[in-house]
Amino acid sequence: MIAARLRLQRRDFTLDVDLQLPGQGVTALFGPSGCGKTTLLRALAGLERAAGRVALGNAVWQDDAQRRFTPPHQRPLGYVIQEAALFPHLSVQANLDYGRKRAGAQQGRGDSAPAQAFALDAVVALLGIGALMDRRPATLSGGERQRVAIARALATAPRLLLMDEPLAALDAPRKAEILPYLERLHRALALPIVYVTHAMDEVARLADHLVLLEAGRVRAAGPLAELLARPDLPLARQDDAGVVLSARVDSHDRAYGLTRVAFDGGALWVGETGAAPGDTVRARVLARDVSVARQPPLESSVLNVLPVVLETLQADHSTALLRLRLGPPAQDGAVPTWLLARITRRSAEALALQPGDALFAQVKGVALM
């Protein structure tokens, strides 16, 4: 568990947050430029001196009440920024060794809790940089540089990995090159990651937990699936609004090149994927790809038709945003699975939609990631 209560006055905004972040998985700090997400990350690392308290589990890194402030170099964290910041005078190998040796020496003195021991070899293999060891940073591509920077941070065996828009400086192909490595990282390491980004596709692929920042304050924080399905948040008004379903591969229909993925409350047919039955995948369903009907469509080209219950309806001048519940109502605080649907207000009124209505959701597009 990461606890952070931080306040920092800046000329253009005030950062004022009180956060409890899970001690595992990827937490995305998401928000527009200037909302304070980088400042918050820097304050977690101790690179920025905000007022308040920061603790990772039992280790208190900052507590102004006790006049305690651990400088960044004594915090067992890894930090990766946009521009990689590899040391240009050192080879890739020496860059990796730089933090690994120092972290090892610190642990040798026994002044920090036992960190997860990542074998450097495993990290190098995970990020696919084995062939680059003797190269200088200047000779690497942008994607290679970023992978080395991530490996360098992991080589210190951190207890927390902080990433500040690690993909923002890369073009689309380079970004596509790195994302799978980040996903592998996410799966292979039991290491909490705090990930700053303003790109929704990165959030949808990587995040388990989401913190929405607005003008230095926390607008909402919670599990990704819950926040994405909340029609009251600004996320839902964006063009790429939609939900992310945690699903598992059920079966393949090779004859038609389709795969069936199942989740709590239903199943969807998607384009055939390489994942084996039983694998967990993420399915992203955009609100604009979902329409509703009162009766199950009889003769339709849409493959995925799911029975749903309309929970809420929010209309503006021309569109209506529907929150649809899949499956039975949740019990004992469990979270149901939702879809969002964006339709025209005219259709909503023509169908006389009311919360509680049983409907059929037609899903025209699903992206597996």
């Binding site: 170099h73 930090y79 910041a85 040391f87």
Partner: protein, 228 residues
Amino acid sequence: MSDATWTVVRLTVELAALSTLLLLLLGTPLAWWLARTRSVFKPLVASLVAMPLVLPPTVLGFYLLLLMGPHGPVGQFTQWLGLGRLPFTFSGLVVASVIYSMPFVVQPLQQAFEAIPERMLEAAATLRAGPLDRFFTVALPLARPGLVTASVLGFAHTVGEFGVVLMIGGNIPGETRVLSVALFEHVEAAEFDQAHRLAAGMVVFALLVLVTLYVANRPPRDDQATFR
């Protein structure tokens, strides 16, 4: 080369080498401070360091002479320490040279330090390097071109100084009679052959120094840049 000439050259090189060493030891932390500080004293300190650039060397020499003389505060202090007086000694010349050449060492170093992106030092911090560690393993290596420039300029400028030497050191063979002063004396005495030898030597030296500087500060060749 005559013995007298040899003594002059040796003394000059000793003075320049010792001064350069002291300049680097004192100038590097000063340049680092100037490059990083937000103190209100920064403009004042920077101006003091830069004074020798604008002051006539004789003005500097005059005041150093007063300060280090038997009645000056520095002179009183050195006498109290039992070191005697500094004017007209080799030690006095070293002190004067260090002050006089300071801007030539501090300014290139300061520029080199200022050019290091903050994110490099922060990266080092998040890789568990403490402040001193960051300075020696990241700042200094990245400021290498500035270090080379500072050393060469500091050395060459000390070799070439005249006014301050004359005011502080005088012209004592084996103690303060360095190349520039000896050259002046030869010309005064109409010994143009000797003067030529020293002057031509200086021209060649200056050229060698500058070529070395430009070669040393070429951007590094990327051995791995080509695909094999």
